[in-house]
């Protein structure tokens, strides 16, 4: 298989315009003859579904929650980047492009990133027009703040609830279409199979989570907007129902999975407090604008933070990276926290945290101003930890947050299965090995509002799709497969709960394939995961029946997929013998402990082909060339 990224030729500034012009259009009258299935209603899914319906396509939308508004995009806090250059601080499409490629440690496809930067400004226009209440200056113009990995202020925000407001904007556009009858909404549905007929994606098979019925839906194209796989680590900042199942099932049908080892560990999360913990809570990176990260200089210093004098504190990010200071990219901040903690300088009862201190900012700006900027984050922290961050420094620890890897897609966002598109966090395309803060929202909305409405038409006009419907044999086969799998899960009747397995898998992943990885431990992880998977199918216990709302059954299915996917993630990490962005191999580091890339051998996207559970997957490489941003060691000092 040769991976064709279908990146148009010509200078990078012209590629997208040229491609839009060259892509064939679907006649307005013909659009309603096409059924498009959109799975997932986060920023990517909701914006795509609404935009396609506005164009006239017949859209069916599926989500796992009770309402499309619950998708996990809602939890994004800090903001969304756009090259508007409102602050007049030197931003441009080119600079956003440059920062994103560099921030991604030169492992992203240049053309995609440039397009992302190009459409970023239109996203802000669109969201403002929808009534998204972005923060404003007193003069009435939009307000910006700075974020990690950039020296300009290009982040637009709505308090600490930017993701919520952007999602509600996209959701409202979607609801408008549902009200007009151009979109049919299917909530509480979980996609459990992709239907491929004559080599093209033609539909999906879902389980109705309320009744347990297996339902089939046919269409001319399927859009997976199902988010990331961070929950493979069990503890992550992702929502409980975030899962890899939809993309994993597509992978099993032939869609290549790219760069799964690129996982982002977010530096500012609330530390773990005990075994019972079901999730980790992230606090926006924007906190690093005013908060200063430090640890005591002395190992095992158990004094309370306010009694440690300035001279005995190590503001290690400011010390090591004077020009970016506390605003270094996430991977750098996380790794430095880990190394401080590994040196024994961690704080808090468990020693598994570092301080994020606002006392200086409160002195400088006043508590009122800080409250206005970060009030909800401070409240959230206070609720969870029972400590008041206005009085004592926050304690933070890194946690799994975002998946840069995902289904491999070409420039049109189409996977290796014709007719199967993948948008947002679920694909691998734009962030390389590390995503910059406030860029996930940008990518999800770029894909949904401004890319897929063009590229989908190109596919539909250039492909002859025979008539099919949910009664065809391909659908019946998949329905049977889903029913059998469910039955299998219910029949094991072992002793351990699905969550129990999930926790164990998460521990393997975090310990062996977390912030720092090495060959021995990765190899160990592969065999441990395989063993756990085997045990799962012998010893899992799923109570109640299929024919009802059964959350234990739902969880079991997702954990089963994670047990297969986790192995792929580790294999990818093992094969990538370099450190880059969120993937840090202990064997490959510079003398001062920074990630050391190997551009000669690993400047490619690793796209894996499924060959069977427990079988070694086949690697396909998409070479990455950097014609516009020159390969360089990332340096934030």
């Amino acid at each position: 298989m040769i991976l064709d990224s279908k990146v148009p030729d010509g200078p990078i500034e012209k590629k997208w315009d040229k491609h839009k012009f060259e892509t064939k259009l679907v006649n307005p009258a013909n659009k309603r003859k096409y059924d498009v299935l959109v799975v997932g209603t986060g920023l990517a899914g909701a914006s795509a579904a609404a935009s396609l319906a506005e164009l006239g396509y017949n859209v069916k939308v599926f989500c796992i929650q009770d309402s499309p508004r619950r998708a996990h995009s809602i939890a994004a806090q800090g903001g969304i980047n756009a090259a508007k250059n409102y602050p007049n601080d030197g931003d441009s499409v080119w600079r956003l492009f440059y920062d994103t490629v560099k921030g991604g440690d030169f492992r992203a496809r240049e053309a995609n990133v440039y397009r992302l930067a190009q459409v970023s400004a239109s996203i802000i226009d669109q969201c403002v027009a929808q009534g998204v209440p972005f923060a404003r200056e007193y003069g009435g113009t939009l307000s910006n703040r700075s974020f990690g990995g950039a020296q300009v202020s290009r982040t637009f925000y709505a308090r600490g609830q930017t993701g919520q407001q952007l999602l509600l904007g996209a959701y409202s556009a979607l609801m408008r279409q549902v009200g007009q009858g151009t979109v049919s909404m299917y909530p509480r549905r979980e996609m459990l199979e992709l239907v491929v007929e004559n080599g093209a994606a033609r539909g999906i098979v879902c389980r109705n989570l309320v009744t347990g019925e297996v339902e089939s839906y046919a269409g001319h194209a399927v859009l997976l907007c199902t988010g990331g796989y961070g929950n493979v680590f069990y503890l992550s900042t992702n929502a409980a129902s975030c899962n890899v199942s939809a993309t994993w099932r597509a992978h099993k049908h032939g869609a290549l999975f790219a760069n799964p080892c690129y996982t982002q560990i977010h530096p500012t999360c609330i530390p773990v407090s005990g075994d019972h913990q079901s999730k980790l809570t992230l606090m926006s990176e924007s906190l690093r604008n005013d908060g200063r990260v430090w640890v005591p200089k002395k190992k095992g210093d158990k004094r309370s933070p306010e009694t440690i004098p300035e001279a005995e504190r190590d503001y290690y990010l400011e010390r090591k990276y004077p020009s970016f200071g506390n605003l270094v990219p996430r991977d750098v901040a996380s790794r430095n926290a880990k190394s401080m903690i590994d040196e024994g300088k961690g704080v808090g009862e468990t020693g598994l945290s570092v301080y994020l201190d606002f006392s200086e900012a409160i002195k400088r700006l006043g508590a009122e101003k800080i409250k206005e900027k970060y009030g909800n984050l401070f409240d959230m922290y206070h609720h969870i930890t029972d400590e008041d961050p206005y009085k004592v420094p926050m304690r933070i620890y890194p946690a799994v947050h975002y998946a840069m890897g995902g289904l491999w897609v070409d420039y049109n966002l189409m996977t290796t299965i014709p007719g199967l598109f993948c948008l947002g966090e679920a694909n691998f395309s734009d962030h390389g090995a590390n995503r910059l803060g406030a860029s996930a929202l940008m990518q999800g909305l770029a894909d949904g509002y401004f890319v897929i409405p063009y590229t989908l038409g190109g596919y539909l006009t250039s492909t002859k799709l025979p008539k099919t419907d949910a009664s065809s044999p391909a659908f019946k086969d998949m329905e049977k497969a889903v029913a059998e799998r469910t039955k299998k899960l219910l029949c094991v009747n072992g002793k351990r709960t699905p969550s129990d397995f999930h926790k164990e898998l998460g521990k393997i992943m975090w310990d062996k394939c977390g912030m720092a990885r090495n060959e021995n431990e990765l190899k160990e992880a592969i065999s441990k995961i395989a063993a756990l998977r085997e045990q799962f199918w012998k010893d899992v216990k799923v109570t109640a029946s299929n024919e009802e709302f059964n959350q234990t059954l739902e969880r079991a299915g997702r954990v089963a997929d994670y047990l297969e996917f986790g192995e792929l993630l580790v294999r990818d990490a093992l094969h990538r013998k370099e450190s880059c962005g969120g993937h840090f191999r202990e064997e490959y580091q510079t003398p001062d402990g920074e990630a050391k890339r190997d551009d000669a051998n690993f400047s490619y996207a690793a796209a894996w082909e499924f060959k069977g559970v427990g079988q070694e997957p086949v690697l396909h490489k998409e070479p990455l060339t950097f014609e516009n941003v020159h390969l360089a060691e990332r340096n934030y000092a």
Binding site: S47, R70, G131, M175, S278, K279
Partner: protein
């Protein structure tokens, strides 16, 4: 801590439900309420019993998926938090806690503590949007919006659509939810072209769903995890009155 739980169990939408007693042993004060239920559920599954069904997702108070009426209070006794942000340190050893679903005719039961809140989506479909197609937007800074207005719109837009207002209202009214959305758009210039239509359509959809009538008791405001103010309800009343009586549209 050891606690006694009385949890509403109901097999399906058409079955009768009842409170069933469970004991929760060794509860840590740092657990969230939902994590405590997770632990109870793990125990139930191991015993071969059906786990207690309840909705939750983000577990950080923003998705609006979690619900629960805890000792008669939606999202529990704390102010300004969702159930997922309620920690067990709020309770004392030996407490008995009654856990029920959000109850309203417009929120039919799904199972146990999970209910169907799609009525909110249908209200949104009636007018909870600005009609602007993708690509149709003017330059973002073309409309100046004062800081104060933007903040007020944001206060209203902070609604997470959890339905606690309905659950807390003695009349199961959805006024606070609808009013928050109507307010957000009524305050902003983007919402002006559809202002009249929106107030009328959303009110009509709200009434069609079978919610009760607002009696200005403000239990909704007290229960709202995002502390949405009832001044939005007044604004909705005003908008609706204007749309019904004054508007020529």
């Amino acid at each position: 801590m050891n606690l006694t739980l009385k949890v509403w169990r109901q097999k399906g939408p058409n079955d009768a439900g009842k409170l069933v007693e469970y004991s929760a042993q060794g509860v840590s004060p740092d657990m969230s309420f939902l994590e405590m239920l997770d632990v109870v559920n793990e125990g139930l599954i191991k015993k071969g019993e059906d786990a207690i069904a309840f909705d939750s997702d983000c577990r950080e108070g923003i998705c609006g998926m979690c619900s629960l009426v805890i000792n008669g209070q939606p999202h529990g006794p704390e102010l300004g938090t969702a159930t997922c942000q309620l920690h067990m340190r709020t309770f004392s050893d030996g407490d008995t806690i009654v856990v029920e679903p959000f109850r309203a005719r417009a929120f039919p039961p799904v199972k146990d503590l999970a209910v169907d809140r799609s009525a909110f989506d249908r209200i949104m479909q009636a007018g909870g949007y600005v009609s602007v197609n993708t690509g149709n937007a003017p330059e973002a800074n073309a409309n100046l919006i004062s800081h104060h207005v933007a903040e007020k719109a944001m206060d209203a837009a902070a609604c997470i659509g959890c339905g606690a207002c309905v659950a807390a209202c003695p009349n199961a009214s959805a006024m606070l939810f609808v009013a928050a959305k109507v307010s957000q758009y009524a305050l902003l210039p983007q919402g002006q072209p559809e202002r009249t239509r929106r107030a009328l359509k959303m009110r009509e959809a709200m009434d069609d769903e079978g919610f009760g009538n607002c009696s200005n008791e403000y239990a909704c405001e007290a229960a709202c995890p995002k502390e949405i103010k009832v001044s939005n309800i007044a604004r909705f009343n005003r908008e609706h009155l204007k749309a019904s009586v004054c508007s020529e549209e």
